[in-house]
């Protein structure tokens, strides 16, 4: 049977001023790995808790396999959750921890044995079964927490920042492990994180949230290639995208002293926001390429390349553009460089709404539910 999780117009309001989740709708199907991504306070954890039933929605519905579970208690929703802290019972052995959920549901003990056996084989937990959580490393605890959810065979998996308590090296390793593991489960997975790398690497789809609003719901590559608005563009990608607010003159944006043609979607603005990722800015190869002159004022070594900050003198205030430049270009502070902005890599955003302005290279169907109200007071 196909499993499915749907959120319909889900809203959570604590009081008139505190509304962590503002009418979010989305659905996650079997085998889908959806990540809720956003800065702290964006409402992602609240959405997860609403799905789990640890919070009650103010309005809207949570549907699991088509059935409205909004009024059910967490235990009746057949969901399983990995907590940020793992929430392992310190006084129980690993085996007891993994079995606890099944025992509470009065699963026959033979069945419990088989399922635990399956999961321990799968995760390689054999040597740890009689230990207590206090005697495990962070990575091992994390794996026990995952085992505890897998053994339940739920309709939906919920993971709340499960990697945030691991050190960087281990995190990378466990991330890959999680991807393989949940890829085999054929069950909707909802994963909460503020880490864009986790979101990009793990997910089949990413929901970017800000201020309780769904900003964009798309495949990771689309989120990166065609960010629905300025917030998404700035949140995804590291180092951050360059944003230049530039004046326009008759279908041309004036960057420095250089006019760049506007996309066809734009309707004669006087100003426009130009976005370009540092990795797409490069040093001009020839004099024919449209490029801007600027002065290097900061060089940050990132190992395989340098992140170069360049100050460009234009008509008004000087603007700063950051570019990823190969280390073979031996740039020095104060040296003059010519930066080229390949037109196909430029993102255009409306100055007032921050919404993306379609370009010719954009894929035709834009599903991004770009809800960026002008007033964020509700």
């Amino acid at each position: 049977m196909d499993k499915k999780l749907e959120l319909v117009d889900l809203r959570k309001q604590f009081n008139a001023k505190v509304v962590p989740v503002k009418n979010v709708s989305l659905s996650v199907g079997s085998g889908e790995f959806l990540t809720l991504l956003g800065p702290s306070g964006c409402g992602k954890s609240t959405i997860l808790r609403l799905i789990a039933g640890l919070e009650q929605p103010t309005s809207g519905q949570v549907l699991i396999n088509g059935k409205d579970v909004s009024r059910l208690s967490p235990g009746d929703r057949n969901i399983a959750m990995v907590f940020q802290s793992y929430a392992l019972y310190p006084h129980m052995t690993v085996r007891e921890n993994i079995a606890s959920g099944l025992k509470l549901r009065k699963t026959p003990s033979g069945e419990i044995q088989t399922r635990i056996q399956d999961v321990t084989d799968f995760l390689g937990l054999h040597d740890l079964m009689d230990r207590k959580p206090g005697q495990l490393s962070g990575g091992q605890r994390q794996r026990v927490a995952v085992a505890r959810t897998l053994v339940r065979r739920p309709d939906v998996f919920l993971l709340d920042e499960p990697l945030s308590n691991l050190d960087a090296l281990l995190r990378e390793h466990v991330r890959a492990e999680l991807k393989q593991l949940f890829g085999t489960q054929n069950t909707p997975v909802v994963y909460v994180t503020h880490d864009q790398t986790e979101a990009m690497t793990l997910s089949t789809r990413v929901a970017v949230l800000n201020n309780g609003y769904l900003q964009q719901l798309d495949a990771p590559e689309r989120i990166y290639m065609e960010p629905a608005n300025r917030f998404v563009a700035g949140f995804i990608g590291s180092p951050q995208m360059n944003f230049l607010q530039v004046p326009c003159e008759s279908r041309r944006a004036i960057v420095g002293n250089h006019p760049i043609p506007l996309p066809r979607g734009a309707n004669m603005p006087t100003e426009i926001t130009l976005g370009i990722r540092p990795e797409h800015v490069h040093l001009a190869q020839s004099d024919h390429e449209p490029a801007l002159d600027g002065q290097v004022f900061l060089i940050e070594n990132l190992g395989m390349h340098n992140l170069v900050s360049v100050r460009i003198q234009g008509q008004g205030e000087p603007i700063t553009v950051r570019a990823i430049v190969g280390i073979e270009h031996r740039l020095a502070i104060d040296s003059t460089v010519r930066l080229a902005f390949p037109p196909e890599s430029i993102h255009w955003f409306d100055v007032s709404t921050g919404d993306r302005i379609q370009t010719a290279s954009d894929s035709t169907s834009v599903v991004s539910p770009s809800v960026t109200p002008t007033s964020v007071t509700s």
Binding site: G75, M81, S85, L104, K132, Q135
Partner: protein, 301 residues
Amino acid sequence: MVDYVRAQERRTGWFLTIPALLVLALVFAYPILRAFWQSFFTINLGNQLTPAFNGLGNYIRMAQDGRFWNTLWNTTIFTVATVSLELVLGMGIALVLNQSFKGRGIVRTIAILPWALPTALIALAWTWIFNDQYGVVNDLLLRLGLISTGINWLGDPTLAMISVIIADVWKTTPFISILLLAGLQSIPGDLYEAQAIDGASPWQSFRQVTLPLLLPQIVIALLFRLAQAFGIFDLISVMTGGGPGGGTETVSLYIYSTVMRYLDFGYGAALVVVTFLLLVLVVAIATFFLNRSRKRASGAV
């Protein structure tokens, strides 16, 4: 290689502890050892308070002393009844105070008041509450029509014991509830959320999470209360003076009478020694369980 820094620190450590050890020796070790010594002598009005060595005479007398066994029995009943009632009620109150509700701060403050008041005052108040003619308990029971004549609460051995137990439970339950509340607050909330997601009922969560993780605090509360209840003196002294007919006389009251009223210092010392050893035994057992429960709750065992 010798760790000079650590050796130096250890020397300084000892040096700094010496004053405290001296004080302890003076106020603990000396009186206890002196009581041991005195318990082998007869020192009473019969021999003009001139110590006369008597060997184990005092202890043999104690074994045959019906009043001693009676007080030991009273003390045991009082201890078991108060400590178990206080533990159950204290747990209930702690669970309530651990919930978030409006005015919780005020309720918490009120809840600890009985424990903060001086025992002698509380004892006096309860004496009046249980007074057979003017007491509020009889008044309420009469108005409710449950009894037709006032009950002499403090005039009957059994009722008097019940009365002092109620008074002590009222006074000391807050102590236990505050202790357990601190323990409850150290249990991470997400353990309960994990339980909820697994479909546990509140009672199941209490059994599987709260109780095992609260065990260290429960044992600490037990330890404190066992020692205190076993030595109970002030409350009973004021309320009944050990009466009626020795019905509420505890070991402490008996020792007090022996020494201060009958001026039988040798026998009193023997009573002190036996009580002391009993108490040490109880505390040692409780400490053993405390350490085990602590390790278990933290997952070290």
